[in-house]
């Protein structure tokens, strides 16, 4: 697999680590139910999937990658900092 890092260009996937589905982060105090869903439950689609990778052995950037889980085709890559997954504001 080769992933095009927006900063470094196309790189072998051995340079990257994988975290899992790219999901919006709940507020810290939003309670067990929301965090349970965020950390544990997965749509797990067979098809396009938004997910988080880190270019750990390269520039260190976290990436949001849209990739087909059946064909492995990569449909889009962007820096995670621009992907709008940011934590929801705490209620407190």
């Amino acid at each position: 697999m080769r992933i095009t890092c927006p900063l470094c260009g196309a790189r072998d996937h051995r340079e990257f680590t994988y975290k899992g589905a790219a999901l919006p982060v709940p507020a810290l105090d939003s309670g067990v139910a929301e965090w349970d869903a965020h950390v544990h439950l997965r749509e797990n689609p067979a098809g396009p999937h938004e997910e988080l990778w880190q270019h750990a052995m390269g520039c260190g950037a976290w990436l949001k990658v849209r990739r087909n889980t059946v064909s492995h085709e990569i449909l889009a890559v962007e820096l995670a900092q621009d992907a709008g997954l940011v934590i929801k504001e705490d209620r407190s």
Partner: protein, 185 residues
């Protein structure tokens, strides 16, 4: 309160390991006077680049590029950071960026020779051939299983950096690849 004055002896990361020549490829250690990581704060990229230019004569490098020259080089060092190699960083830069002294944090070696790229092709998963990886190009990548920074510093010369504590393994891995390339003749 110390009662004696004596200077601690300094030792370079590859002391006792280099230089090394196998076939037509030579591996030597570089010991820059200083290395400083420069990480611009939010919105400070432009003023930082200006200040860097004023203080050290080069702009903040774009991704995958190095600016400056052999005496003072700014190497793009990953997301939102560059490594100033050579001069001690001007403290004024701290107004725009986090400055971290890494003068002792990285081992720096130079691989040079007609088959240098073939040696690297055994260790590094990116294309370092001169028509692709040109003068002024740099990359953050891996060398075997180590994080590395690689910069072209000459037509047949590459600068390779890994964390200091990996110096032994760096030399071991490069030596092994140099031997294999040389043995093919």
């Amino acid at each position: 309160m110390a009662e004696t004055e004596m200077q601690l002896a300094a030792k370079s990361p590859c002391a006792g390991l280099l230089p090394l020549t196998i076939g037509d490829v030579t591996l030597t250690e570089d010991t820059p006077a200083a290395m400083t990581l420069i990480a611009p704060y939010k919105g400070q990229e432009k003023p930082l680049s200006d200040a860097l230019n004023a203080a050290h004569g080069m702009g903040f490098p774009a991704p995958n590029r190095a600016t400056g020259n052999a005496e003072a080089r700014a190497i793009w060092f990953g997301r939102a950071q560059a490594l100033l190699v050579g001069p001690v960083a001007d403290p004024k830069l701290a107004a725009h960026a986090a400055l971290t002294d890494l003068s002792d944090g990285w081992a720096v070696v130079r691989l040079e020779g007609a088959h240098a790229e073939e040696v690297m092709a055994r260790l590094v998963p990116i294309d370092l051939r001169p028509q692709v990886f040109k003068r002024g190009h740099t990359a953050r990548t891996e060398l075997q299983h180590m994080m590395a920074s690689i910069t072209r510093i000459g037509p047949k010369a590459l600068q390779i950096m890994v964390f200091r504590s990996f110096a032994d393994t760096l030399v071991h891995d490069l030596k092994r690849a140099m031997e294999a390339v040389a043995a093919r003749g």
